[in-house]
Subunit: 384 residues, 2 copies
């Protein structure tokens, strides 16, 4: 008998709409609000898993679309599952493939059944249906499985948004059924539904109600961070989150910049994922308490300060901006490694600060202090 | 008063011509025979310094040519020296710049004074003389400084080889003088001379005698591993090493493949450096006890064995060939990181085996067993 529950979300403290707690799962406990580093192709790019864990990550995200194409879900299963394959024994959330199939593949054909497409790697033909997405995520050994949905384009008419949302809700039912019929899922994994409906409160309400009728372990807010801007994103969260059960985790997919995360936590989001710390790290952008910094800028070449003057990460406690500048300008792999490591620590330290502030009942003050300093800094943004 | 000597080479055991011992220096002790990973631009590519150290390296090599151009020796000095800059507190050997200036720069002009050249990075004009090379290596904070010499081309007539060798011997005198007049060198650093003379025993004898007259802390054998082949290289070592003092370290520059190293240790070499484990790791070649392996080969995609079936490194104890194959084929940086790490461990484990075998008086048997298995394996070589 295993005393660790399959999936137990427990809110320890609330502070306004913000909440902090834990999700207990068989492979480990996730402290919320949580940031999940993205490990697209069975690796958080440029990082060893020990380093990802040391940064404070309790869970990472894997991409179904990438893994089904290479090395394939069947091969990952034959090799002992994704956790063993990439040597990350802690929880893994996998997306459903719905987003990447729309943004990366070609020759797409969307039907009621699912999405047929050609691989961006070799042009080979594939199809993802809700049932196939559940099967792939089961083969990978995912801990948190995402329902398969359609990624609604943005901008988009209300009629098109409604049609897309309703298709996603029918697919959510099929995802639930596919998940429940899978042999391994019942014992260890959890299934999250995804609220769609674009920037329309009534559609969001219909979507949330439909998902709650089906019943999921957690609820994601999809269709945001697609170019609508922070103001509109927060507005959607303001009316959507009250539609969701308070006792289930809420996951804001693909978000975001540090200030996006702070604002979303204040509104009651529990989980985030984003490529920003890893991708922009490889591109030379370091996150700091004084805003983003472009380490490629010549002004850093003699600077003996760490990337972030108040950061306690292994990069900032050892290396100067001058050294990281030298590495990045020289095209050295270690430059990307150190930038990625610092950025992941920056995000995890921010999440830890938010959790502590919620527990102490002062998250509004924490957010105000953080945002004042962060938005007052240099902001050397780099285009993605 | 500092009780650690500036430079103390101590031979603990000899076994035939092979020797094992230590070089004690102020920044650390180097176990010989030693392999020095190459850290060209203030980084052993794709490796953190902690990982380099954990692999068993006591000393790394830095390239004067690269560092003088970027970030410049003066900037490294202003930033606290190369050890602090790259966070490697152990000994560093720097080359003189003589080899890279001939292989990488353009618009070269060789005179008695030195070599004028244009940077391969931005075309800027520079000059290296023996005195400037000593100054650069002093600014970097090098522990083992190499005399500035001319890199004799290969193949090359005997007359040209002699002319080149004699220039290098005049430069060796100037290197010694330049080194001795440097403020910091006398206290902590050592200076090595480089025997030239190509594939000619009489020229090697003249060169060795000239260097011994000047007096150096150690003697390198230069002008080998330039395409002459292993047989000829060993032949040159067979007649050159007896020309050198037995109580000083002997360094075979730029060597080499594992079987080259084994053969050179049997002949009495104490120190090696080579880009092979790092560069070929990034290119997908893993060194194993059964010979080199090309991890890109499709046959590895389902292989659950480690890269090297008998290796105890952190890569081989955790990851499958299938995973590393997936990473390398996917262009993931972690693939290059893990391949490099394994290869550096492979080299250091080989050196440790050689040291233990010499101490036990069975290095011939060790070499025979190693070479039989190594040369009997798959040998999936990758062009450099």
């Amino acid at each position: 008998m295993n005393l660790v529950p399959r999936f137990a979300f427990s809110i320890a403290t609330t502070d306004g709409a913000a909440r902090t707690g834990t999700i207990a799962m068989q492979r480990g406990t996730i402290r919320t609000p949580a940031f999940m580093p993205v490990g697209t192709a069975a690796t958080v790019k440029a990082m060893r898993t020990d380093e990802v864990r040391a940064s404070g990550a309790d869970i990472v995200l894997g991409n179904t679309y990438h893994l089904m194409l290479r090395p394939t879900a069947e091969r990952v299963a034959a090799l002992g599952g994704l956790h063993h394959f990439m040597q990350w024994p802690h929880p893994i959330l996998t997306d459903s493939g719905g987003y990447q199939v729309m943004s990366l593949s070609s020759l797409r054909k969307l039907t009621e059944e699912g999405v047929a497409f050609a691989s961006h790697l070799d042009g080979s033909r594939h199809m993802i249906t809700p049932e196939r997405s559940m099967e792939i995520q089961r083969l990978l050994g995912s801990d948190i499985v995402m329902a398969f949905d359609e990624c609604t384009p943005y901008p988009c008419s209300k009629a098109e948004t409604e049609t897309s949302m309703q298709l996603s809700m029918r697919w959510a039912v099929r995802s639930r059924q596919g998940f429940d019929s899978g042999r391994d899922h019942a014992g260890r994994s959890a299934l999250f539904g995804i609220v769609q409906g674009g920037m329309h409160a009534d559609l969001r309400q219909q979507s949330a109600s439909a998902l709650i009728d089906v019943g999921f372990d957690g609820y994601a807010v999809g269709g945001l961070a697609v170019g609508e801007g922070q103001g509109l994103m927060f507005e959607v969260l303001d009316y959507t989150l009250p539609m969701l059960p308070t006792d289930k985790p809420r996951y804001l997919m693909g978000v975001g910049k540090p200030d996006d995360i702070v604002g979303a936590v204040l509104r009651g989001i529990d989980m985030f994922d984003c490529v920003l710390p890893t991708r922009s790290g490889r591109n030379g952008q370091a996150f700091t308490c004084d805003g983003p910094l472009n380490i490629r800028n010549a002004k850093h070449k003699d600077d003996t300060r760490p990337l972030d003057t108040v950061c306690t990460c292994p990069v900032c406690t050892r290396y100067t901006r001058a050294y990281v500048h030298h590495l990045v300008r020289s095209g050295e792999m270690l430059g990307a490694m150190l930038m990625t490591e610092h950025n992941l620590y920056f995000y995890q330290i921010l999440m830890a600060g938010l959790r502590q502030a919620i527990a102490a009942g002062c998250v509004q003050d924490f957010a105000a202090v953080f945002l004042k300093r962060y938005s007052g800094g240099a902001h050397e943004f780099i285009a993605d």
